[in-house]
Amino acid sequence: MKSILHAEQITKVYQTKNARHEALHPTTLTIHQSEFVSIMGPSGAGKSTLLNLLSTIDQPTDGTIHINGEDVTGMREKQLARFRREQLGFIFQDFNLLDTMTVEENIALPLALQQLPKTDILARVTSVAQELGISDLLKKRPVELSGGQKQRTAAARAIVHQPSLILADEPTGALDSKSATGLLEAMVRLNEQGATILMVTHDPMTASYAERVLFVKDGELFREIHQFGTRKEFFEQIMEVQRELGGAARELV
């Protein structure tokens, strides 16, 4: 299977005058095409650092990252921006929709940035909106939407340009459980249609929708588990690892 993302021995060190903080120890990971991977871990474990590095928003201190065969660690700012807009799709915890634009315009943004013709853009937006069940919201503004609707809009924006990789940072963090389930089911459907998704979360329920869960602890990959049975069994498995993780943390105290 084709590898979409490959990070080789990446580290992140924050160096100040009199302190050195290693936020991420050397880490290697690979995500294959059409995979739905979740990264879990307690707060401060290095989840966000890892996601920021993988999403090219931050640069690793050491190591290389290849996305869709391209080395992104050596790119300049301008190249990176172009790369992000074409190859990556983002879903954030706080939606990050532009309140000055309509839902339709928000979703269209990645395509507009690629200078596609207007008719193509609108056709694509319509079909994506239909997929996510927000067709009748297209003319509304983000302030008029509920949290779940906002996040589905964000998801639509993340997939509209058919990126190689969708990065989701706590996508259900600001949603009630019903909206969260709706969004996650939509993400599973997208995944089944071929989208590669990398999701960061601290919620075992959310993580159980993925096929594979990576656990991060103290700046290191701690464990990796795969889903083989039902989602419910997988959820139990995740809970178990978490207990282990928590236990390990308690042992240290």
Partner: protein, 638 residues
Amino acid sequence: MNLFKLAFRNLKNIRQNMMYLGAVTFAILIYYTFLAIRSNEAMLQANESYEKLGTVFTGSSVILALFSAIFIWYSSDFFLRRRKQEIGLYALLGLERQQIAKLMFLETMGYGIIGLLIGVLFGTIASKYFVQLLAYVMGMNIQADFSMNADAIGQTILVFLTIFLLIALRSARTIYRFTLIELFQAKQQVETIPKVHPVLAVLSVTLIAVGYYLTGKPLLEHFTLVAPILMVCIIVGTFGTMSYFTIFLLRLLSKRLRHYQGTNLILHGQLVSRIKSNAVMLSTITVITAVTLTTVGTATSIYYYIDQTVEEQMPYSLSIASQQQAAEKLIRESNQTIESRTMVNVKNVTHSLEELPNPLSLTTSYQTFGFDGEKGQFSYISYSDYEKLAKSTGKNVLAEPDSDEAIVLETFKGNDLLKETVRSPMGVTIKDDHSSFRITGATNLPLTQLYAKKRLAFAVSDDAFAMIPEQAEMLTNYQFSDERSDDGLIQRLEQLYGKQAETDMAAYYPVYAMTTATTGLLAFAAGFLGLVFLLATGSIIYFKMLAEAEESKQRFAIIQKIGVDEQEQTGIIRRLVGFMFSLPYLLGLIHSLFAMQVLQKLLNYNLVLPMSLAIGCYTVVYLMYYWITVRAYRQIVM
């Protein structure tokens, strides 16, 4: 720690509040400088008319004070907005509202006092140079020194303490009005999308168009009636255009194909969401820009044409009507050398005119000449004298009229009431008791500059001239080599003529000196105010844009993540800021061009050059503001 200490500590955090302090200091500096110029000792001593011109200064200083108030109001608004969260934090930490209000009050006053100190100090230095500039444009030669002026300081303190008091009250009111949660959410205002009102949009633009139309013929024909209507049309139209038409335009823009291209989506969204809250500011700035450009343009034009104005009023260096020999002797004893001397015999006749030659069609002039059936005074000269005058002034010499014909002359240059070429024969007669003349030609040829009232003169054939029974009066016109300086000759001549000085002599120099001084002062005041308006409007947009930048930080963070690179972000900022600067600038410029075109008709000068000069300066400063704003905006969001 008590409130004073806290306020003091906040004041010391000067970097953060640099812009606010700068704005306050600037306003004080300008105001004090202006007052100091007015009451400058050296100027008062050098020119007695300077004091009489005080009204120009008083009016201007009132405008300045109002302006400072608006300006400080805007900048403190930005300042306050920036600090809402900090204020919220104080409240969260348990400071009572009353205490916070006191703290804000102390801070405002603290900045006021710092601003006053720096402003007065630099104002003293600035006023010296401004006084020298003023003296230069007024054609005076004085040595200004650095001097503090107690009156000016007193008035500055009074005006600005009032302003600061108002600002402090406003800050306090903000604190009382908002709940804690609102203070924290200060930057999270929900942007509402304005509705489109196509009817109002079209109506507003129509109003401006009507205003422009009125500046043509209607204004010239019924000035007092049309002028106020025109002003209302333009001002209401401007506010309407900025409020409704811009929204209409932007909405139209977002329906176009290019809407979905690159960063246009982001730009349009940002513009549309802000336009409503910016409309009042944009219209105010448009009106101020129009007024400033017109004022500065007018002043520049008038100053630019001083020489020509005086030359028209006083075509000769000196005209005299009596004591020719004694006067000539005084002139020869002075430093002046006589370049030319022309003598004309004039007969003044009082009679009425029946009809007028065609070119004299301006209604206002009829009354001046007593043409409406009333009797008026007219001057007659012989063709020989006419020939002499025409040759000495380098004019074309028209053919000698027959005994029943006449050439009409203007006794002053300027308004070109008479066209140089008359389609002859006119078939129009002038009649008096003795004879009538058919007008066959017209020319602008000043006989003399003596007559206080403008009147028409006629050149008739030598024979016809001899037939006119009135006593001839001999007038002498001198042209000096250096009529713009005077070594006391004028005063000696005035002594010679005594009481008759007013009727029997008219010299170029006193008129020139007086005109230069008054127009110089006017031009200076207009230029000074123009500069202040310009800086203030630029700063208002600057502060408004920075407040907007603070609110847009998050949006730029989002688009950065989505993959809009720095260059594209800068492009968005450039276009955002450019829109805010160019909209009021362009509309104001067009307004002022229409106003100037009226002025050009009234003054009958070509104002292209002085106007271009004024517009050029304005544009350069505006561009600099644009550049600075883009930079500051970038620093905030990127």
